[in-house]
């Protein structure tokens, strides 16, 4: 097999497992942009090491190993201790779920978008600060003049409400089908 074909084969496998890898990386970093960057880095390493990879071996554990190294690099670059769930534990159970796979995400994403649009203006403003301006809860609390605990509580309530709204919409969609 030529190197180009090998790279393409491995990248196809990478793509097929991207949901599981995204779940693993996001669970460890909790950083959207870092997650997308690390997924890009994994693709680079996969292509770089394609020639030495034994294609008879399962690819996902290899991808997960690369992902773990990239996550550790990410934390080293940030100069912070990684206060995340242990890698072994995440590797143990996150790949068992299909929650981040495209087939599961697509309809959920559309439903979530509709639910977010229904939020009251003040709550949408908080959402904007958290997810567009990427402020943390203490920065949001200073901006809106509420306690940090109040912001944690508000975000948790909003997310629970959004999940109920999404589940309801998906149930309705299922009923129509």
């Amino acid at each position: 097999m030529s190197e180009a074909v090998l790279i393409e084969t491995l990248l196809r496998r990478f793509y097929a497992n991207q949901g599981k890898l995204r779940g693993y990386v996001f669970s460890a970093t909790r950083d959207y942009h870092a997650t997308e960057d690390i997924l890009q880095e994994i693709a680079i390493v996969v292509a770089k090491k394609a020639s030495v990879y034994d294609t008879s071996r399962p690819a996902l554990p290899w991808f997960m190993g690369i992902a773990r190294n990239q996550i550790q690099r990410h934390y080293r670059a940030k100069g912070k201790d990684a206060l995340n769930i242990s890698y072994e534990l995440l590797e143990d159970f996150v790949p068992m779920f299909t929650s981040y796979d495209n087939d599961e995400i697509t309809e959920r994403q559309l439903a979530l978008k509709r639910c977010v649009e229904k939020l009251p203006q003040k709550q949408r403003h908080i959402m904007q600060m958290r997810y567009v301006e990427e402020l943390d809860c203490s920065q949001i609390s200073k901006t809106v003049g509420r306690s940090i605990q109040g912001i944690y509580g508000l975000l948790k309530r909003m997310k629970n409400g959004l999940r109920k709204c999404v589940d309801f919409q998906l149930q309705q969609l299922e009923a129509i089908k």
Binding site: E8, F14, Y15, F26, A43, S99, Y100, Q109, Y152
Partner: protein, 418 residues
């Protein structure tokens, strides 16, 4: 071991995605995840919802309509092509091999245009690639920069772009990675890594420009400044005033003209800085019988360069040091490429004796362009500093303007009072 309190499961899981848990809380959550299958299910579902919230807001800022309900074969091929393109460009960053993104994987951009390329240089065989929502394109001098673009600038390459309908100009040094978007009319740039210089027109007060790094945020209403994102973030303001927010310490400071601030530990303080430019006091080509205006660096013929700088008059603490050298060419040369190494050596020994590597440049630099090497300031010494310039085998040799040439090597130092 006590059984974890499962009634706290939703709170701990939810808060894991909102804040840093304490080590005790983290242990408690890990015990829950080990022992309770339902907690694992909830953990993954919470994570997925948090990721989706980021994702839909990210798409919203790009003003791109949500993706197709089903991944089509075309989308899959585009995604793979995107990965291959990133490999191609970052390959040049990482391994300094010539690589170009194939035209076949360049796709038609659909996101709103924000800016146009105003200055652009890539070394032959390299490319500045852009990835935007799975679409990949290669930049050229006539390209537009669009909402949601992720740019990779290989070492030795340069890119400047100017925002449409105003004079705001952003310049990116080689080795930089940025993400560019627009938040309801407010300019927004994430500098993942590298160096960015900005000359910003007056911005509307309610829509300041924001530049974000992993540990800091810069809010701009109109000014000229430089932002460095490496282990720490450093902002140096040349004119105007810029607000700098540290994400780690949650402190904020206004940085005025002629001052800098960085995100390192300790109180956030804006301090005056000055730039010191030292011209090389002596340069020569070791072993090379070439004209005195050039320094030749060629591993095949064992040509190396020797440069000297006298730092005895530099007062204060050096925060940043850059060695700027003008790349020349001989006859049809297009410049040089490869792993160029700079060693500090003992003065007066012609490059022999102990060597301390102070910088490496991996990439290409074109003829008549400046090659810039970042030096670790802690490795500079007071007084005479002599440097040996070598090139690893396997790439194209460098010919550099010497101290006797029209553009001598220059050491640029950013200095603050101690």
């Amino acid at each position: 071991m006590n059984k974890p309190d499962s009634t706290k499961t939703p709170d701990l899981i939810s808060e894991y995605y909102l804040r840093e848990l304490s080590p005790v809380e983290l242990n408690e959550l890990q015990e829950l995840l080990r022992s309770d299958p339902d907690a694992r299910l909830q953990f993954v579902a919470h994570g997925r919802d948090e990721w989706l919230l980021h994702h839909i807001h990210h798409l919203q800022t790009q003003k791109i309509i949500s993706f197709n309900p089903r991944k089509t074969r075309k989308r899959k091929i585009q995604a793979i092509a995107a990965a291959v393109a990133i490999v191609a460009t970052l390959g040049t960053v990482l391994f300094s091999k010539s690589a170009t993104i194939s035209e076949m994987i360049a796709s038609k951009p659909s996101a709103t245009a924000l800016a146009r390329v105003s200055d652009y240089f890539v070394y032959e065989g390299q490319a500045i690639s852009v990835v935007n929502d799975g679409h990949v394109r290669k930049l050229n001098a006539a390209s537009k920069i669009r909402v949601g673009d992720r740019l990779v600038i290989p070492p030795g390459c340069q890119l400047s772009f100017q925002y449409l309908e105003e004079n705001t100009e952003i310049s990116l040094a080689g080795g930089s990675r940025v993400y560019i978007t627009d938040n309801d009319g407010a300019k927004w740039i994430r500098l993942e890594q590298g160096r960015l210089m900005a000359d910003v027109d007056k911005q509307a007060e309610e829509k300041p420009m924001r530049l974000v790094t992993r540990d800091a945020e810069v809010i701009v209403l109109g000014t000229t400044f430089e932002l460095l994102a490496e282990k720490i973030t450093r902002l140096s303001v040349s004119s105007g005033a810029v607000r700098f927010n540290s994400k780690n310490s949650e402190q904020s400071v206004v940085v005025n003209s002629g001052c800098l601030v960085d995100s390192s530990d300790g109180p956030l303080a804006s301090v005056p800085y000055r730039m010191v430019h030292l011209v090389s006091t002596a340069t020569k080509s070791l072993n090379a019988p070439v004209e005195p205006q050039m320094i030749a660096v060629d591993p095949v013929r064992n040509y190396n360069g020797l440069l000297s700088f006298d730092l005895k008059d530099v007062q204060g603490k050096i925060l940043e040091a850059k060695l700027r050298m003008r790349v020349l060419g001989r006859e049809l040369d297009i410049g040089g490429a490869g792993d160029l190494r700079l060693y500090r050596v003992q003065p007066g020994k012609n490059g022999n004796g102990q060597r301390v590597e102070v910088s490496i440049f991996s990439g290409g630099a074109g003829r008549n362009k400046d090659l810039v090497m970042d030096l670790d300031p802690s490795l500079l010494e007071c007084g005479e500093n002599e440097f040996l310039l070598t090139l690893d085998k396997g790439r194209n040799d460098f010919w550099i303007c010497s101290a006797k040439g029209p553009v001598p090597p220059m050491l640029e130092l950013k200095v603050v009072e101690e």
